[in-house]
Symmetry: C2
Subunit: 116 residues, 2 copies
Amino acid sequence: MGSGELFQHLRRSLLEYSVVQALVEGEAYPADLIGRLGRVGLQVPEGTVYPLLNRLKADGYVEYRWEESPSGPPRKYYSLSAKGLKLAEEYRQAWEKLKKSVDSLNTSQNKHEKNL
Amino acid sequence: MGSGELFQHLRRSLLEYSVVQALVEGEAYPADLIGRLGRVGLQVPEGTVYPLLNRLKADGYVEYRWEESPSGPPRKYYSLSAKGLKLAEEYRQAWEKLKKSVDSLNTSQNKHEKNL
DNA sequence: AAAAGATACCTTGTATTGCAAGGTACTATT
DNA sequence: AATAGTACCTTGCAATACAAGGTATCTTTT
């Protein structure tokens, strides 16, 4: 993905960015991930997370390994691939740029109010 | 729209937020609007803007008036209604919250790196 | 050892959003 | 009266988000 393309994409899928960032923290199985996102206020249902992880897997951004659970069926622990880590960093930059872009709409509005 | 609902919605439609904020600056016709967004780096095509404005109109967030153009057919100048201004302010708060949420994913990641 | 409960995983169908492409109408210029 | 430019708008497709519903595994209870 090109840089401008990434920027456009991020505008649409903040959730994908959030999931990728949450995975930078370390591997997680879906319920873990939902917990990490929920803790910062991003409530995301299962039905959103599973397809998203499958997409990221299909595109080579994440890998997973099976691990037994102490209490229930085995879990799929997802982690970022090398390609995924690179994406995470590119996304971080796109996010900084996006924040600036969006916030500068307010800035120019203030300029206007102050008649500059 | 409720506050949490707005937050979830903003996650999905940053563009709507951007358009609403751009209108806080003052009335504009679609090409104006596209210019304001483009100037801060948000490239948005016509085919996105027209339906969006129609939606905002249908929901009572914006109004418009016709004005003759010095060079071409008349323009629809859009501006925020009272309801739209209120939305703009609620959106601004949701945006601040969203930025914090998303950024705190990185913070907890840093904590982890520093072993706190 | 059956049944019930809890925890995983996943899919399907619908709504929403974003946009490229294509279309209509008005105005100004040649 | 033909062309070019500027405005408006719609249609159809792709991607994203998610509620609802489904299957399988493992543990606990009866």
